[in-house]
Amino acid sequence: MHPAYSVIFFTTASGAGYGLLALMGVLNAGGYLPVDRWFGLTGFILSLGLITLGLLSSTFHLGHPERSWRALMQWRSSWLSREGVIAVLTYVPAGLFALGWVILEQTTGIWMIMGVFAAIGAAITVYCTSMIYASLKAIPAWTHELVSPIYLVLGLATGGLILDVLLKVYGKPISGLSVLCLMALIVGLVLKLKYWKTIDKTPPATGLASATGLGGIGKVRVLDKPHTSENYLQQEMGYRVARKHAEKLRRIAAVALFIVPIILVSLTLVAPALAIIASVLAFLTAALGVVTERWLFFAEAKHVVMTYYEG
């Protein structure tokens, strides 16, 4: 699949934003966070900012962004619609949560419950985002059962890394959060490795035999494409990363998104002096890593329709 930057940015940014929002809601409910107006303000600017920028960027690749509101109509069947609806709904508790925290400096009671709702909304939104892809049977690499867990865990990890930085900057580090990040990263790594391994191993369910129905006669090979010039389908679905290239990128993603942050976050736990710099670096490499990971998620996925063109 063609890796559109708007979509990569959307899924990674909103993923991190929702992760951050969810952690703020949950950790606040547990009473772990400082009830600091400025801390809250920064947290909300970052989380809601990433979410909003992400969502906006997802409309960039629309043919008719001005009609985006229509995308909320089909929540009964469409995951994109569901995502939109939940995303919009999540703004309500998230907004109130922020209002309470930043304006009223209230983080308990109803405001705390708003935080919990926002966290639930965030999780569901990320899940819906993942399901947009995971529900597309025509792209076998996406219908994998690990796609949603990975989206969720990566949202949590990247959001967590941001919160970790933030807390350290505010001088209120929570080692439990760092551990949580570590765990999320480790789980993420395990899931992603498993994902890559299975998609590499799984033979395509659809080949030219069933795509053309000619398999009964013999082995089918492409002789000519319908047109000598490329069309929308080939441009949109025909993206292919060379195998060698993909492997390199996978390594980059694994190292940047998981290995380095795991080391750096561990470092913050054992060497508090380096905490801030290490956690900032952890976040930055993870950000690079997650973008690479997401780019690959698209670029490596083969749409079954390309079977018709490439065999």
């Binding site: 995308a71 109509m73 089909q74 619609s81 129905g213 006669i217 492409v222 929308y232």
Partner: protein, 246 residues
């Protein structure tokens, strides 16, 4: 609201006969010609006179070679257009409801006024039947010539999809595949018509008829048949004598 109708009153669709399709592209071009001024007008062409022309087409003809176990190769042409699936993922995936399946005849359509151009339907269609018109920012697709098959301004015989009425080899047929007694259903039954990518569970309405088994041998002539000498003794001219001895 969204979603697919539980059932449709009829299942209009195409039956494509791979046995006699000669790959002439007539159906594809006539489709383009009709539809560029039809429901989805225009079927935009980008860079039409340049190095990379690329346009919106609802029907495209592929060419395959099929090699049998014995090593014989056969060239097969394969027209590909929307199959108007019963379980059309392009409909359920659509966030706006622009993509829908009509209850009256099962035609899957896009309402361009609702479409936001998110392209998700094209991602969900395993058959590549959706064509994004970047110029107009909307998704377009085969309409089964909805503005032709019912068009009262056209004579009866023209009320067929453009690709069907134009196909010189008569390899394309149109009808109600929901009605087992229809001509197309009968044809599917008799010729072993099949679904593309059954594993995608989209339940296509359109069916393909497989190439017939090639009769390299006539029923009564075996592979190593050989004509007998006319007249073993007199040779050919001796035989001629017999024929002419009247």
């Amino acid at each position: 609201m969204t979603s697919l109708p539980e059932s449709t009153e009829s299942k209009l669709g195409l039956v494509i006969d791979l046995d006699i399709c000669v790959g002439c592209h007539a159906c594809a071009v006539n489709c383009k010609e009709w539809n560029t001024s039809g429901y989805h007008a225009p079927l935009t062409d980008v860079d039409p006179y340049g190095a990379d022309p690329s346009g919106v087409w609802f029907n495209r003809i592929h060419t395959y070679e099929v090699e049998s176990a014995s090593g014989d190769s056969q060239t097969v042409y394969f027209p590909r257009s929307c199959l108007h699936c019963e379980d059309a993922p392009c409909v359920t995936v659509c966030p706006t409801g622009a993509s829908y399946k009509r209850t009256e005849d099962g035609i899957v359509l896009v309402d361009e006024d609702w479409c936001i151009g998110c392209k998700l339907c094209s991602w969900s269609c395993p058959y590549g039947a959706r064509e994004y018109d970047a110029q107009e920012g909307v998704m377009k697709k085969c309409t089964l010539c909805i503005d032709k098959i019912y068009n009262e301004n056209l004579p009866e015989e023209s009320r067929q999809p453009a690709c069907v009425s134009t196909c010189p080899a008569n390899a394309r047929h149109f009808g109600d595949l929901g009605d087992p007694s229809s001509e197309v259903s009968q044809m599917v039954k008799a010729r072993g018509g099949y679904d593309l990518m059954p594993e995608q569970a989209t339940k296509p309405v359109n069916k393909y008829l497989p190439p017939r088994a090639r009769q390299t041998e006539l029923a009564n002539i075996s592979n190593n048949a050989k004509l007998e000498d006319a007249s073993p003794e007199g040779g050919f001219l001796g035989w001629l004598d017999k024929v002419l001895s009247d």
